[in-house]
Symmetry: C2
Subunit: 133 residues, 2 copies
């Protein structure tokens, strides 16, 4: 029952590596300017790779920031059920990987009784280091 993964294409690899190098989420055009030396010249090349990487769960999009961050769980099985905490003052983002929260939300039924395939949750607050300064 191995997890069959197609190999990434050249551009996908370049862009994933760049995102993984950064702890903080990065913006599409910042990715672009940082990988131009590797032969990636134009926005569509970046956005195509981003779309694919999101689809397969290697990265996630932080919607409230239009930024992109690598998935922390090595073999992301729930690419479309993500939770982040975001610091209002320094914009630090960290992925929340909590099975209980995850289960609670994927089991959640709205009042019409439907369950959901995925979710994106972004928590806002003040991070530890900003709080003490």
């Amino acid at each position: 029952m191995e997890n069959k993964q197609k190999p990434l294409s050249k551009n996908q690899k370049i862009i994933l590596e760049y995102i993984q190098k950064n702890k903080k989420p990065v913006k599409a055009y910042s990715i672009l300017s940082n990988v131009q030396k590797k032969g990636i010249n134009a926005p569509p090349q970046v956005y195509r790779a981003l779309d694919k990487l999101i689809e397969i769960g290697k990265i996630h999009k932080v919607e409230s920031q239009n930024s992109f961050v690598a998935c922390k769980t090595s073999d992301c099985e729930t690419p479309h059920a993500t939770a982040f905490s975001i610091c209002d003052s320094c914009d630090e983002v960290s992925e929340i990987n909590d099975p209980k929260l995850f289960k609670y939300l994927l089991d959640y039924k709205d009042n019409s009784g439907i369950k959901f395939d995925g979710y994106n949750l972004e928590f806002f607050g003040t991070c530890k280091s900003c709080e003490t300064s």
Copy 2:
């Protein structure tokens, strides 16, 4: 212990009314083109009003769509703790107003023990009417 509400300004009123008329979320530039006859000419006028309306909780932003929707609870007390369900196939959005979910999330503590001031949660799935077609 009344809820002291400052009256809205002219542009804020115009834009809020337009958003409230629409059941579906609306986009900023679509708002603009629909309120031009009322004397609103340029994007900053729209975005300024949107920012304010969000701040006071009259509307919410649907981050994954860059769209804006009126708050359903007449006197929104939690402008920054919002949950929506979004249909993947027709893009319909509805606000989820569930005190239990609300409490669960506002009480949620991440592994560093911090609580959050607010959150934005967007659930994805297939709505009833899309499912049966």
